[in-house]
């Protein structure tokens, strides 16, 4: 486990030998009089999964939505692949906490919706959607409607939709919080496989310490409002081991414990 303190964060932000996909520079966010984020400087390495973790109300979702271009920052700048963000863009795809599926559309249409908005022809987009439906393990459900699926399956649709647009950066806002515990574990394992396979940059928001340590290459811990970077941790866990072995790994357990000790004082 590598522990990078906040002071050293800017200097040590880029792990040697990897590119930066997303740069966050001096982001501040005010909601009227309430300061949600203060002076966030962060680099997200390409091809890695970085988690934003923190107590509720620390602005982690706000930061993710600023990166997505869905809400404007009060000051500061976000650059994706070196280009400044002014709004949503095709190089970023978002996975929503409540899935945000269109209830009147089939799984197929929901997965292909990003492509439909880009104006891609029906056959072409269905072929791509089909590929990702299979990849997230939903083959055979193409013509089902969202209300016919379980929570876990609905989020798989949301994930397939994000993969289908072939964005470089995937932004996941507490994707498993509305999924039940058992499905969540399976889903986390599948996600890690997809991270390995798709070679994309993942930015992941969660409030689950275990989930963060289990999934992440790097964990950014935000402090309570106003959100600032409290700590950056890179869990050094052998990812080649089986999921069950990882969950029993001493490094994994130690990291979870350390993060909990750091966050404990934020909990009432």
């Amino acid at each position: 486990m590598r522990n990078i303190t906040a002071q050293a964060a800017t200097a040590a932000a880029v792990p040697a030998g990897s590119d930066v996909a997303v740069e966050v520079r001096g982001i501040c966010k005010m909601y009227n009089e309430v300061e949600a984020l203060r002076g966030i400087d962060l680099d997200f390495p390409a091809g890695k999964l970085t988690t934003l973790l923190g107590p509720s109300g620390c602005g982690k979702t706000t930061l993710l939505k600023i990166i997505a271009g869905l809400i404007p920052a009060t000051s500061g700048e976000v650059r994706v692949n070196g280009k400044a963000v002014t709004g949503p863009g095709p190089e970023r795809a978002f996975v929503f906490q409540d899935f945000a599926l269109m209830p009147w559309a089939t799984v197929m249409r929901n997965v292909g919706f990003g492509l439909e908005l880009k104006g891609m022809g029906k056959n072409e987009r269905q072929a791509i959607a089909q590929k990702y439906i299979a990849e997230v393990g939903l083959s055979g459900f193409e013509n089902k409607y969202p209300h016919e699926l379980s929570g876990g399956m609905r989020q798989r649709v949301g994930l397939a939709r994000a993969f289908a647009v072939n964005a470089d950066v995937l932004l996941l806002d507490e994707p498993f919080s509305a999924v039940d515990e058992q499905n969540r574990r399976k889903f986390q394992e599948d996600l890690l496989e997809l991270v390995e396979k798709e070679k994309k940059t993942f930015i992941f928001v969660t409030h689950s310490i275990e989930e963060a340590v289990y999934c992440s290459d790097r964990i950014v811990i935000l402090s309570r409002r106003p959100g600032r970077i409290a700590q950056i941790i890179e869990p050094e866990i052998d990812r080649t081991a089986s999921p069950d072995a990882i969950r029993r790994d001493q490094g994994y357990l130690d990291t979870v414990e350390e993060i909990w000790q750091g966050l404990k004082h934020y909990v009432d």
């Binding site: 939505k65 997505a68 271009g69 929503f96 269109m102 209830p103 009147w104 409607y145 647009v165």
Partner: protein, 250 residues
């Protein structure tokens, strides 16, 4: 409903009431209530007359024109109020006043403004129907999950696409409920409008029959009108149910 251990179908109570009506009519106790069988015979004869057909066409025409404007304006204003707080604050109080106001009282004023013709009836239909459509559309638009809108934006939907492909469809169940209630109110509007103007369409016939105490034809006319209003409402309810299947589960 069960009675003496037997399951009685829903429409059975209607049959009982029809029977009572027939009995009261045959007893001749009240001249206002002719036997139902006479009324039904009269209804069949009535729909074959040129007078009724002309009146029905005039009525239907006023109703459809009025409803067309009520639906168009109602949805447009409802969407505006649902999406913009300023518009909501500006218009909300008026819509709420008009939705519960006894609009029949306004018809005489409308007659002065629009004359003793079909225009007044069209405006009456519009005023009866539009407010509930506005309110329901507004509620539907406000109920659209914010994440669905963010989803559209993050995947690059233009504002028009966002409305056409996401917001409108997500609000469709409420909009249809508004239209159904609007249609029911619109039927009231067309009859009240014509009754008060009194020289056109269905209202003219109503006026004619009731003034001459021709109760058989009066009730025939009423039954046809009730059946038409219920049929229209059922038709929209049917569409609503189909849409609900897709959009009701949020």
């Amino acid at each position: 409903m069960t009675m003496f251990g037997y399951r009685v179908p829903m429409m059975a109570s209607l049959l009982v009431w029809c029977f009572i009506w027939e009995l009261v009519g045959r007893s001749g106790a009240m001249f206002l209530v002719p036997p139902l069988s006479d009324v039904l015979v009269a209804a069949v004869a009535l729909v074959q007359t040129g007078t009724w057909q002309a009146a029905a066409i005039t009525t239907l025409n006023s109703f459809l024109v009025g409803m067309f404007f009520a639906i168009t304006v109602g949805i447009a204003v409802g969407v505006l109020m649902g999406r913009s707080t300023t518009a909501d604050n500006l218009l909300g109080i008026w819509v709420n006043i008009f939705v519960s106001a006894p609009l029949s009282a306004l018809v005489p004023v409308l007659m002065i403004l629009f004359g003793m013709g079909e225009t007044t009836v069209v405006v009456t239909v519009f005023l009866f129907a539009v407010w509930i459509i506005v309110l329901d559309t507004r509620a539907g638009i406000q109920g659209v999950p914010p994440s669905l809108v963010e989803m559209g934006r993050s995947y690059g939907a233009s504002p028009w696409t966002l409305y056409g492909k996401i917001i409108f469809l997500a609000a469709l169940p409420e909009i249809l409920a508004g239209i159904r209630l609007g249609v029911v109110r619109g039927v009231k509007g067309v009859v009240i409008g014509q009754l008060l103007v009194a020289i056109i369409g269905y209202g003219e016939l109503f006026e004619l029959y009731s003034r001459n105490f021709d109760m058989v034809n009066f009730w025939a006319l009423t039954i046809i009108l009730f059946a038409a209003a219920m049929g229209l409402s059922a038709l929209i309810e049917n569409i609503e149910k189909r849409v609900d299947y897709y959009a009701g589960v949020r």
